[in-house]
């Protein structure tokens, strides 16, 4: 799924004559590292995005040799999608997925438009609990907990959401403006891919699995890995487990 398949994206003649020129460009090291770390480079990234537009024709075959696709989306962003084992990849955790989908929903909401794509964390939390219900939200974000104290559970949800936001910001889905405000970026539309066209959601999911965009399942591995990193295990006893 490269630029040829992305449909609707502008066809631009490459501004670079050779791969050597592309690599010699001052943007290459930073953009290359960002893409390999999973970052979505969008129009908001300014010259880095322009560089990718110009260098796309040369970079696509370059990254294909590493077993991954440089994908350009019509919404105005690029990302690297590993299809083999040559480049590391990871699946987003449950927290990242829930927060990402909710932010995508907010991105589509005209109310967000009034503030130029800025939303408050508090509004996000309200929206999350409104969409899923508090109990489902708590259980989805803490699948291994059986008993919940309301105060501790709320605290834990906030902490999981904050962690998810930090990771989504690293991946270029959002910008963290300050402690309160988030700026939504077009890359969030990746979370809406399964429902973007009018086909059956299940068929769309299968198509995305086939193209290596998503994996189906619980994603316990990623959550376990994140928990093992020691971000949130400190209050296990307090949770009464």
């Amino acid at each position: 799924m490269g630029s040829a398949e992305s449909g609707g994206c502008a066809v631009t003649a490459s501004g670079f004559q050779s791969l050597e020129e592309v690599i010699a460009d001052q943007h290459f090291p930073e953009v290359d590292l960002a893409l390999r770390r999973g970052r979505h480079v969008g129009r908001d990234d300014g010259t880095a995005y322009d560089y990718l537009v110009d260098a796309l024709d040369r970079l696509e075959p370059f990254y294909r040799r590493f077993g991954c696709e440089l994908v350009q989306r019509a919404d105005g962003y690029f990302y690297l999608l590993p299809s083999g084992d040559r480049l590391g990849r990871r699946q987003l955790s449950a927290g990242e997925m829930l927060v990402g989908q909710t932010l995508a929903l907010m991105y589509l909401d005209p109310a967000t438009l009034q503030h130029g794509g800025m939303v408050r964390r508090e509004v996000l939390l309200h929206r999350l609990s409104g969409l899923l219900g508090t109990e489902t939200l708590v259980r989805t974000l803490n699948p291994r907990q059986r008993k919940f104290d309301e105060r501790v559970a709320a605290e834990r949800v906030r902490s999981k959401v904050a962690e998810a936001l930090r990771r989504l910001a690293d991946l270029g889905f959002i910008d963290v403006v300050d402690e309160e405000m988030l700026r939504l970026r077009p890359a969030l539309m990746r979370f809406a891919e399964p429902v973007r066209d009018l086909s059956e959601p299940q068929a769309a999911l299968e198509r995305l699995v086939k193209s290596g965009e998503i994996v189906l399942g619980d994603g316990d591995e990623e959550d376990a890995r994140q928990d093992a990193n020691g971000t949130e295990d400190e209050d296990e006893e307090e949770m009464g487990v």
Partner: protein, 434 residues
């Protein structure tokens, strides 16, 4: 915060300044303001106030009982809050005459006046401002006395120019709030009509963009002229050593800079917003004319816990930088050099100032000193300057022990040295000593 501002704010807090205006009060004030404006009234008789209040009551609260009594309370409430001022000074001799205060006028103007910046109003204001500055420059060239500088340069700069620049700023704030309204309107239009609102949204965006661009052009061109004129006035003031004029010009220059900066900042901010909305209209609204995507995504989020999928992203680890190889070295144990921490005490001269003071005080008394100050003046020169303060206390102590003091109820302060004063005691005459 500068100390002046802090003092002013502290004074406001001390006076417990507050405003409590109900809708009826505001409508009453607005009615009075409009009446004064149409009939060119400078003040209102009490009957007119009550009559106006009753009319407002009919509109705002038709079923209200005893409107005259309510009018009396409302007038008192507004007087307490410095919204209405009695101007006749007749006290209880006859019914009063009232006028709206500056505060009331400002509040009403905020709600009534449509003072957004337009190309016409800005061009008019900047034209007047330029003519005024040219006049002040001519006056500055002719000014030859302190008074003429003050009357023909400082005063017009502070009042006329200040008002004109303030007028532009006020209208800029008006345009700011108009922009916020446009942003809210675009959101509401899309919320209500989605795809059908695209053309209207585009037109709103374009209109505001054009307005901002025009205003910024006028501001860029005219503020350049203002600053040139002001700098010329400032140079003349500086040559004539007129610090007050210099300061007044500087203040206006800063004000003008602020106005110019507003234009650029708003245009940049609007440009970001414009691009964002434009992308939204193109990528979200036009591609999803039935607004079905939001609903499908909402369903997807709600059902995600039971039908999970996860996005995949690249996650290449950072490049590992190996440390340069070095052979194993024997590191010496951490230790601290031993030192002898028992230092011998310093030898200092014994302090026998106490004994010396008693002798010196006795000598001063014998020499005829008649007050504490006189004794102190005689004793202090015998000691190094850094001990004078301490010695002054000791002299008083010794004197209190060897003689009986006399003191008036208000003891007078007397200098004994350029930087030292004490409350004086009189000493008894000869033969009174203990």
């Amino acid at each position: 915060m500068p100390s002046d501002s802090s003092r002013l704010i502290a004074a406001l807090a001390r006076d417990r300044i507050n405003l409590d205006l109900k809708t009826l009060d505001l409508c009453f004030l607005a009615g009075l303001y409009l009446r004064a404006d149409r009939a060119a009234l400078a003040s209102f008789e009490e009957d007119v106030l009550i009559d106006m209040f009753e009319q407002i009551c009919d509109v705002v609260d038709p079923g209200a009982e005893r409107p005259r009594k309510r009018a009396t309370h409302a007038i008192q409430r507004l007087r307490d809050q410095r919204m209405l001022a009695r101007v006749d000074g007749a006290g209880i001799v006859r019914s009063g005459e009232y006028t709206l205060t500056r505060l009331a006028a400002a509040v009403v103007e905020y709600f009534l006046a449509d003072e957004a910046l337009t190309r016409e109003s800005l061009t008019l204001l900047t034209g007047t401002l330029r003519a005024q500055l040219a006049e002040i420059l001519a006056a500055a060239r002719r000014a030859d006395t302190e008074d003429s500088w003050r009357e023909r340069v400082v005063a017009p700069l502070r009042v006329t120019v200040g008002d004109l620049v303030g007028g532009i700023e006020r209208r800029q704030r008006g345009l700011d709030s108009q922009q916020e309204e446009v942003q809210a309107e675009i959101a509401n239009l899309l919320q209500a009509d989605w795809f059908g609102a695209v053309a209207r949204c585009q037109s709103l965006l374009d209109t505001t963009t054009d307005t901002l661009r025009e205003l910024n052009e006028v501001l860029l061109r005219d503020t350049h002229h203002f600053v040139a004129l002001l700098q010329e006035i400032q140079a003349l003031a500086s040559d004539a050593e007129q610090a007050e004029s210099d300061e007044a010009v500087q203040r206006v220059i800063e004000h003008v800079d602020r106005i110019a900066a507003w234009g650029g900042a708003r245009q940049r901010a609007w440009s970001d917003y414009y691009q964002y909305v434009h992308r939204y209209l193109r990528d979200v609204v036009r591609l999803d004319p039935d607004r079905a995507l939001s609903q499908r995504l909402r369903d997807q989020v709600a059902s995600w816990p039971s039908a999970r999928f996860h996005l995949l992203v690249a996650a290449a680890p950072s490049i590992r930088l190996l440390r340069p190889l070095e052979s194993r070295v024997e590191r010496p144990p951490v230790a601290r050099p031993r030192t002898d921490r028992e230092a011998p005490p310093d030898l200092v001269d014994p302090e026998n100032a106490g004994l010396a003071i008693e002798n010196l005080v006795a000598q001063a008394l014998a020499a005829g000193a008649e007050s504490l100050a006189e004794v102190t003046e005689r004793v202090l020169p015998k000691f190094p300057p850094h001990q004078h303060y301490v010695m002054t206390g000791r002299v008083a102590d010794v004197l209190a022990r060897v003689t009986r003091m006399r003191s008036t109820y208000e003891r007078s302060w007397r200098p004994v040295e350029p930087n030292l004063e004490l409350e004086d005691w009189d000493l008894p005459r000869a033969g009174d000593a203990r």
